[in-house]
Symmetry: C2
Subunit: 332 residues, 2 copies
DNA sequence: ATGAAAGCGCTAACAC
DNA sequence: GTGTTAGCGCTTTCAT
């Protein structure tokens, strides 16, 4: 059986409350504190978070909900969250919803009772459904915006602008866009951004396709049937599938066609040729979201502190185009 | 504030214990149960697991520790665990140790107090360190064996045998093996398996290299400088890097050189050419480990039940060679 | 600066 | 079958 405060108290010859104070930073004499700490670590004492949470009203745990851990994009976000959580000594419950909006809503319900806050990464559920189950005071959305719920997003408008400016500079005037899932927030974002990225560049919308490698393979033929000299894919996985299909059809990239993705997943450096892509901060977004939710629930320890100067509702992280070898001069 | 048992009890006109019984499957009259359930769901009651855990001694939560979530291999394992956990209504704490053995040990210490059991996936710490901090009764290792700690592993000996038999059948007699990290359990496993996979096939050991895409790139030149007609890589990431380097040097695969990997990560289908690889069950291993730890801690609710017919200590999952296009007839 | 006592939400004995 | 009581491990008043 694990050691409890009482065990430590007995071994240290003090009361349980003193142990508690020594360990959580209450008013104790330096000497006592040091002694208690020594005894505690010597006994391998680890506080029972459940018991602590029962009284403080805070569990010290967070919930993190993602659509699919296998997607390298989400893996990066999760990694950012867990890394920051480790530094903050905060537990992270993980839930993978398998891209199922219903599972997402269930996960929110199950986790919200047993955590201090929730991080929802790219949730697939609709705005209204989300607003129904989510507690805005202790929830942060990652890479998704819903009016009324705080969020951390990447500046896709700027990233898109950079991508199109890059292609324009290389002489491209007709650029295909391979769209992802119709109704997704990210997809709408990208399309809106493309719409007014550059006056001189005509955007040819293709798709939509699944946001996967296979979706990209499928898109390859669509792109070749269009008059575009360059293509912007919904994300890197689609871009990679595209590259794969183009190679299979003997099309040289970037000579005949330039390809640009979104996300900058690690695979983007491993393709043939390495992929030019709009880098979106993934780990950084996860870490920022964790900090944000901590700030919002923090300090007050459950008690909602009286209106303190309108807490931030949104963080927009910068994006940057990473130019590799899949983009080049038009008609080269 | 969330509803508590007392709230439900008051609203239902019964005592708190009756509510508890109705919700957890105790002896209650069907009518009462139904009524309580209705009131509970109407109030949106969600049990406070912390409080429940305090008394039952079980938290209903598990800890899952992995070296690196970005590694698609581990992502698959995690996914297997979380999927099974969802079905069992069991929370999963995730910890990413960044391949750091010390962080691993710390994670074990921090999590073991606040979970019912621990799943350690491919831990990097040494046998002795692990044995020191781990509670064998409530821990299961995934893809790693340590005497005295239960584990779920894949049959690498058989997988390796299949791979070498495949290459032998294609006429290969000299096969290079690109070794991974010297001191890793997995690496030793594979080498032992290769040593007596086939009497007619000579194994040329190369490396070791980092178990990454970059490691594979590096290994590409090593392999070409050897007389081997085929190469087995430490894992798929190395094999993919190898393929990349070979392509860059204009070596055609499988005509000039056959390449085989281990793991069958999803990327293995996306390479040029698609990779022949020893498929190891990843999600299945995670799910099996979860079931195993539940079985071992289950029922008794904390109280270690008196010796019940020697609980299983090890599960070995089958592997199978997936033949794609990176392997072919020798000297073709 | 420290100890005693109360209580967080829940379930397990024990009565009835 | 149901209510009452006690207590899990911890923190936090309230005394001192």
């Amino acid at each position: 059986m694990a050691a409890t405060v009482s065990d430590v108290a007995r071994a240290a010859g003090v009361s349980a409350s003193t142990v508690s104070r020594a360990l959580t930073g209450g008013t104790v004499s330096p000497a006592t504190r040091e002694m208690v700490m020594a005894v505690a670590s010597q006994l391998g004492y680890q506080p029972n978070r459940a018991a602590r949470g029962l009284i403080t009203g805070r569990t010290g745990n967070l919930g993190l909900i993602v659509p699919d851990l296998r997607n390298p994009f989400f893996a990066d976000v999760v990694k950012g969250v867990t890394t920051r959580a480790r530094a903050l000594d905060c537990g992270v419950f993980i839930a993978d919803t398998d891209e199922d909006p219903r599972a997402e809503l269930e996960a929110v319900a199950a986790l919200s009772r047993n955590t201090d806050g929730l991080l929802l990464c790219s949730p697939r559920a609709g705005d209204d459904e989300l607003l129904e189950v989510v507690e805005p005071a202790s929830t942060v959305l990652i890479h998704r915006q819903v009016p009324g719920i705080p969020s951390v997003v990447a500046d896709m408008v700027d990233g898109t602008r950079q991508a199109i400016a890059h292609l324009h500079a290389l002489g491209h005037r007709r650029v295909a866009y391979v769209a992802g899932p119709e109704d997704s927030w990210a997809s709408r974002q990208r399309q809106a951004a493309l719409a007014d990225a550059h006056a001189d560049v005509e955007i040819l919308r293709l798709g939509s396709v699944a946001p996967t490698f296979q979706g990209g393979v499928l898109a390859g033929d669509l792109v070749l049937a269009s008059p575009a000299t360059a293509v912007v894919a919904y994300n890197d996985m689609v871009a990679l599938g595209l590259l794969h299909r183009l190679a299979a059809r003997g099309i040289s990239v970037p000579e005949r066609l330039s390809v640009v993705g979104y996300d900058d997943v690690s695979l983007a450096t491993m393709s043939h040729p390495p992929l030019t892509t709009v880098a979106v901060p993934k780990g950084r977004a996860g870490a920022a979201a964790l900090d944000m939710v901590q700030r919002r629930i923090g300090g007050a320890g459950g008690r909602p502190r009286a209106s303190q100067a309108a807490p931030e509702q949104e963080i927009v992280l910068g994006t940057s185009l990473v130019v590799r070898s899949s983009s080049g001069v038009a008609g080269a």
